[in-house]
Subunit: 410 residues, 2 copies
């Protein structure tokens, strides 16, 4: 196809995109000499409403309610971890209320959930994890294996593909306490078959812990229906929560009795935070997963983003996401593959998450010249450019501009 | 003294207060029908600059830099935990650079530091803690004792006083790994003699971990000079970081080799966060205490507050703090003690932190009518009203108005 027909294709897709009007609600990349932001899978862009929401929070809630905000009858801050967790569960996770909290960082929640799982499966001495899982996930269970005297069972994942049910079936045994996997692989974008893998793990008596950081807000999730036991994820990628925004954790209702197995016992996980008496007594339900004071200010951007996601629906987001990555694949095949670029993400839409990774030796050196042209993809070792269009904020024309710049540099 | 002479005293003190002009930099309580905010020891008030700073961050840094902000040459977000830690160390902690990070919550950092200490003292099987320490502190070491098979040695603290070097000397033995204490007691406001207690702990070969939540930004701290090993604290009280703002941790240089003993190994504590290779290798120095992605947005308010504290100086803050609590004691003695109120905070300024706690049966019932009058003290079980004037934002007239309202209710 000619460049002009590829460009025309972008304009057609934008014209037909039911989510296109939502782009106006983001701070426009044009404001910042950014002509193509393709890193929504690393840090989502702020809504225009975010600054105003923070301003309102500082003036009215923090400045006006002051300490009373924690218990304000209208919207007590103390309940925000669960209130936002429930909203997230409904808008993005396929989780019934009472099973999700917003708190801490992904890493800290991973630690707490993995420890919960290990405590809930006493006598089982193995944790299954894959070699291409996100670094924090691997480091967390390496640390837990060392401190709890457990063994790690590594699934060797092809970094250009992802984890399959067969691989998991070959790894789990009656000694497996926990299977820790990413739902969408951070490098390849491979989308794991969570329902099938859960079934395999459960047949062996093991629990599953899914890292949803690269899936939440991008692909459809049905945690309850898939039989997920535990899950964790961040809110600063497709949920546009801002750099270092708090994370979330899901614990299936059936496991709520096990949450007291998490070892970081703080006042916010106590049955009565303000009794302040001797002895830790865990709160009922998922609240026992909380430890310290909830990061209220940092949660403020989430409400507006969940409003938008609820309006758009995750189904429409996923449809556009696949159209966006299809279009990335089209441009890559036309323009980049002839220059020695390899597509290392799944072409099968059923197995493809929200980003496409392109690989070529020397790609690291292109990052700076791309940035200078206002084109911002992500880079991951080794030699991988991740093209991560965010369905709510990225246009097809933006994808065209970005890959056109990449082509011109090759 | 007559009420009018007590009121005149407040006006004199305000007129002579060198920090008085700084009050104008806070969102005025008068904007919100709050005539007396006496809970700076629980949630500090926002600076007027805070909303503007957040707005600028969202628009320019997050919205404009986007993912590049993590490595921006001018002020890389990746270095904020240490950059703000060093600022805090200099302005408030008496800590040389490289020993403080801002991260997580106080509870999570307490967990990591206590585990670090236990790992650094292998074979020692006891943690010393006091019965009136803040709930989270007690719950954390109860949990660690259970998981690491250690014993807790409880110092029975009088809730109306605080911990003394003699009590610590009677509790530590050659089996003590860690002594965990609050520097200013959350109930009584007792200011512990940290230097003397450190010396006693060190003579027994134990490490000390100080919770500075109720002291930082209110009393002078000299962590390096006092020989503190480990410390933790929050930034939402006298540092005005906002509800649930990130916490900070101090690790003395001599213990940096021990930080890899903290068990939550995440990508931000790795020697090279973006290498993403197999195997956790801790970063050198205190950075190994980090786990997940730093909470950047939530750190934004801190810079302006540290600017103000550096300008004011912690010495001047402490001077005004003592004048404020002296004035609280004067009013309490004149107005409240005759109505059966007990002062449970130290009268000795050398042992008094930044707040004064008043106790009387039935005080809980006064909270609501005080709030209705725009007077906001803090309440802590049992029967304790905490009067916590924040030296940077509270006037003597405000203290007068608050205690006058309390008197009228008795």
């Amino acid at each position: 196809m000619t460049s002009s027909s590829l460009q025309a294709r972008a304009l057609e897709l934008d014209a037909a995109d039911p989510l296109a009007p939502l782009r106006e609600q983001f701070l426009a990349p044009d404001d910042f000499d950014v002509v193509s932001y393709l890193d929504g899978n690393s840090l989502g862009r702020p809504l225009r409403a975010t600054a105003a929401l923070l301003d309102g929070f500082v003036r009215t809630q923090w400045g006006g309610q002051l300490i009373r905000g924690w218990n304000s009858p209208a919207d007590p801050w103390l309940s925000w971890p669960e209130r936002l967790g429930d909203r997230l569960g409904s808008a993005a996770l396929g989780a019934a209320p009472g099973q999700v909290v917003v708190a801490d960082s992904t890493t800290v929640l991973l630690y707490k959930l993995a420890r919960t799982a290990v405590a809930a499966r006493p006598g089982r001495r193995e944790i299954v994890v894959d070699t291409d899982n996100f670094p924090t996930d691997r480091y967390i269970v390496e640390g837990i294996a060392a401190e709890c005297d457990l063994d790690l069972v590594w699934i060797e994942t092809d970094p250009a593909a992802g984890i399959t049910p067969d691989q998991v079936a070959a790894a789990v045994t009656s000694s497996t306490a926990l299977v820790l996997l990413s739902h969408v692989a951070y490098r390849s974008g491979w989308l794991a078959d969570a329902a099938a893998i859960n079934e395999i793990a459960h047949a062996a008596g093991a629990l599953t812990l899914w890292d949803l950081s690269h899936s939440v807000g991008s692909v459809e999730l049905s945690l309850d229906d898939w039989g997920v036991d535990l899950a964790v994820g961040c809110t600063y990628k497709y949920l546009n929560g801002g750099p270092g925004a708090p994370a979330f954790a899901y614990v299936a209702s059936a496991l709520h009795g096990a949450v007291e197995g998490q070892p970081i016992h703080g006042w916010m996980g106590h049955r009565d935070s303000f009794e302040m008496g001797p002895g830790y007594e865990p709160a009922p339900g998922i609240r026992a997963l909380l430890s310290g004071t909830p990061p209220i200010l940092a949660m403020v951007p989430l409400d507006a983003n969940l409003d938008m996601l609820s309006t758009a629906t995750i189904q429409a987001v996923r449809r556009k996401s696949l159209q966006l990555t299809d279009y990335v694949l089209l441009l890559a095949d036309e323009w980049l593959v002839p220059h020695g670029v390899t597509v290392v993400s799944p072409r099968d839409p059923a197995r493809r998450g929200g980003h496409v990774t392109l690989r070529r030796e020397g790609f690291a050196a292109l990052l700076e010249p791309l940035w200078q042209r206002g084109v911002i993809p992500d880079y991951r070792q080794p030699d991988g450019l991740r093209i991560g269009p965010a369905p709510l904020s990225t246009s097809f024309a933006e994808v065209y501009r970005g890959l056109d710049a990449l082509r011109s540099l090759l």
